[in-house]
Chain length 281, copies 2
């Protein structure tokens, strides 16, 4: 396994692989790797001759009040995981390599970035779309792997790839969960014991919504109300949003029909967690 | 020579060439090919195994009051020129292929797009950056060729490629001029006889500026004043802007020092022409 720090070296390696017709699978991460990331790496390992994992905590996707500084970083542990999983290259550039002085170019993704999490994290998805575009250009992957936990991110990146005709395929893999249902996240390490226990309620609330819909409930308002009640029973929980979204139009729906996405963001103490579920009515 | 209409077919061809390690040279155009375009094609032909010319009148770079509808289109003549010049592929998709329903993604290029022509053509360079990014992704060129006549476009595209780490090299070739000095442009065909004669003044004014600077003149204001006087002697001329720009900072300069760009946009009747010259003080 190779640790690459420079864009030039990474691009040259990719060019070499492409020239040989070797498929490149790419897993973009901000490090602090957990079982969710590992599931993406495993899939890439199965499907591609070359597996590249990027580790870069992208400042452009953090707001001024976000947790950029305290975001967990542990290149040592991440390197061990990648080696164990048979990764070929870790690409971990520094900040100045990616955003040099006088950097100016961003992706404008329009209304998709202004709903759900985008409503509360202004500029976040612009930053995500920009770093992902840069990494795709540097690494030239044939396949790129993302987790369904960041549902809106996955939708935006698929749209970005389609709209800009990027020559690659995006694969979105299922959420990996802890035993009690909490979705794997690098931010789970922020939680104290009480918050960690409380956080399991997110999955319980999503499952309850699934049951309600299965039983015939079609009102988003009613389902959200029931989820709020369940979540707010936990002392450390503070809800940012719960939304029921049409997956085709990517707009909130009042009456549930077909395939919908229930997405939520909830604070436990100062830690903001997200989760979601796709449900077919 | 092959005429390709679909993105999918073009991308598949590019992938095939890349897999064989064959260099692709790309000349993006809006058709109505003239000697300026031909100089780009010739250079690509010399330097690359595969030459692709795109012909696409990009609606995203025209404002509501611009000349999208009347912009000259002549695929027959363009095809003949391309065949004669040894082009391998003309890529000429239709509008819906490039901007399907529900298209959303654009490039945000910040202040570079707001000066010079961008001040008068709001959204123009966003449209240029977006189509160029799409074409680069579809065609995967090793080299892309642009003309110096669109000086700001060339600067923005170089910046775009560098900022987003696109895996290709941009080459900018000198302006090709008519005998009387008028820069080649598809829009020159709009001019009536008087306007066409008047338009030669643009190059004369730029050359005069060069002489003034060579003789020691260092005041942008004074040089612009002299150029205005010369241009306004022509009855059909109406000046939109004349600017002296620092090439490193890409900002207007008052006192000329080092390498500068003099750029201008002037209407002759309803036809807007641009020209420029790089001058070293």
């Amino acid at each position: 396994m190779k640790l690459v720090r420079s864009i030039k070296e990474m691009a040259a390696l990719s060019k070499k692989y492409k020239g040989r017709g070797e498929a490149i699978g790419f897993v973009p991460t901000m490090g602090a790797l957990h079982k969710g990331h590992i599931s993406l790496i495993c899939r890439a390992r199965k499907e591609c001759k070359i597996v590249v994992v990027s580790i870069f905590v992208n400042p452009a996707q953090f707001g001024p009040k976000d947790d950029l500084k305290r975001y967990p970083r542990n290149l040592g542990a991440d390197t061990n995981i990648c080696r164990r999983e048979g990764v070929d290259i870790i690409f971990s550039p520094n900040r100045e390599e990616i955003y040099p002085k006088n950097y100016k170019t961003y992706l404008a993704i329009d209304d998709l970035g202004r709903v759900l999490c985008g409503k509360f994290r202004s500029g976040h998805f612009r930053g995500v779309a920009t770093i992902v575009t840069k990494l795709f250009n540097i690494i030239s992957p044939d396949f790129a792997y993302f987790g369904q936990k960041d549902a809106q991110q996955a939708i935006i990146i698929k749209k970005l790839v389609r709209d800009l005709n990027m020559p690659l395929e995006v694969k979105v893999l299922p959420i990996v969960r802890e035993r009690d249902g909490l979705a794997m996240s690098s931010r789970n390490t922020y939680l104290n014991r009480e918050q960690r226990e409380d956080a399991a309620v997110l999955y319980q609330a999503l499952r309850m919504a699934g049951v309600l819909i299965k039983k015939g409930s079609r009102s988003s308002k009613e389902i959200i109300r029931r989820m709020r009640l369940m979540i707010l029973k936990k002392k450390s929980a503070r809800i940012q949003y719960i939304s029921v979204f049409d997956l085709k139009e990517f707009k909130p729906v009042k009456r549930i029909k077909g395939k919908i996405l229930i997405a939520l963001a909830v604070f436990f103490g100062k830690t903001r967690l997200i989760d979601n579920m796709i449900i077919k009515a």
